[in-house]
């Protein structure tokens, strides 16, 4: 894993997450909730929806 193997001890996953948060805090939604098909909403597990909204929406 990148974080374990980085010779300078940089936590790359934390940096990537920070960049994601900076981007999302600009009020950007990468997942367009209204565009999710109705039949998909019925079959998708809750953890998929919640995790996606947490990671890809403001």
């Amino acid at each position: 894993m990148c974080t374990v193997q980085c010779p300078r001890g940089i936590d790359l996953s934390k940096i990537m997450e920070a960049l994601r948060q900076v981007d999302l805090r600009g009020n950007i939604d990468y997942t367009k909730i209204k565009e999710i098909k109705e039949e998909e909403i019925f079959i998708l597990p809750q953890i998929a929806l919640v995790a996606n909204f947490r990671k890809q929406t403001a």
Partner: protein, 291 residues
């Protein structure tokens, strides 16, 4: 033996087959999973952002519920890999960061003060370290000699290091369980690869590609079933096979079940508790012999 158990949202809906089969299998082993009272969402994904304390409140509240209900046994078992990872990481963060801990305890002023001393266990760890696979082996009733299981771990049981239940590069805990159940295991290189995770909501093609590779790898090495512990991996590898089939004409389906469904089948538990009706691809190798 009684032990507190945190189910999480998906086990109460689309992954009832996971919960029901686990509860029934644990009963055979003499364990009562006692559902936590007043549990709430685990938070689903652990926030790596250090200042994002609000997203750590949900998992910590669940651990406070454990303290309230524990009667001295501060352990909680989870089945869902996602819940396990979030609760475990949040707890470790809370335990190791006094400033954030004080801040969160002050914020949750109607809760008891918590110091991070609950032990979060995944069911596989509980089976291995508390029950013991040798004791699991004593309960075998059905020899499923036709089964060739490929174990799929995904990421959340193995990463990051503090949350890993086994060696992240070459885990064997599932294989060890199946071997103790007398089942043939198939070692396949994609067992700890990403299934595409939550991208299944808005990037189905990405998940289709992952699923195609993972299933093909397992099949090419002789597996006739895949076992997993994560409801999101299970959905991506099972349900998305329909989309894979639409894209790749040469694709052959492979059933994907929870490890507890296989365990339950070996323990000869009634099919009403194993809920194979909720698996999208019919798990034919498990349904033979007049089941």
């Amino acid at each position: 033996m009684r032990i507190l158990y945190y189910p999480g949202c998906t086990l109460k809906t689309s992954a009832r087959n996971f919960e029901d089969s686990a509860i029934a299998s644990l009963k055979v082993l003499g364990v009562d999973l006692v559902e936590l009272e007043r549990w709430n969402c685990c938070g689903t994904v652990y926030s790596l952002t250090s200042d994002d304390l609000m997203h750590k409140v949900a998992p910590i509240r669940n651990l406070i519920r454990v303290k309230e209900q524990s009667n001295g046994d501060d352990r909680v078992v989870t089945l869902c890999s996602m819940c396990y990872n979030t609760l475990k990481q949040a707890n470790d963060f809370f335990k190791g960061d006094k400033e954030s801990r004080d801040k969160m305890n002050d914020f949750m002023d109607r809760e008891i003060d918590y110091n991070g001393d609950v032990k979060v266990l995944h069911l596989l760890t509980f089976l291995k370290e508390v029950i013991g696979f040798d004791n699991v082996a004593k309960k075998v009733k059905n020899k499923l000699s036709n089964l060739k299981v490929a174990s799929y771990y995904g990421c959340l049981l193995l990463r990051p290091q503090n949350a890993a239940i086994d060696n992240p590069e070459n885990p064997t805990i599932l294989e060890d369980l199946f071997t103790s159940l007398g089942i043939e295991v198939v070692n396949f290189p994609y067992k700890n690869e990403c299934c595409g995770s939550y991208n299944t909501v808005n990037a189905v093609d990405l998940v289709v590609e992952r699923t195609y590779r993972i299933i093909n790898s397992a099949r090419s090495l002789g597996a006739n079933i895949i076992a997993t512990s994560c409801p999101l991996c299970q959905f991506n590898l099972d349900r998305r096979q329909k989309d894979v089939r639409d894209k790749y004409y040469d694709f052959e389906e492979l059933p994907v079940v929870y490890f507890t469904q296989i365990m339950g089948r070996v323990f000869d538990i009634a099919k009403e508790s194993l809920r194979f009706d909720l698996n999208y691809i019919k798990p034919v190798p498990l349904l033979q012999e007049n089941f």
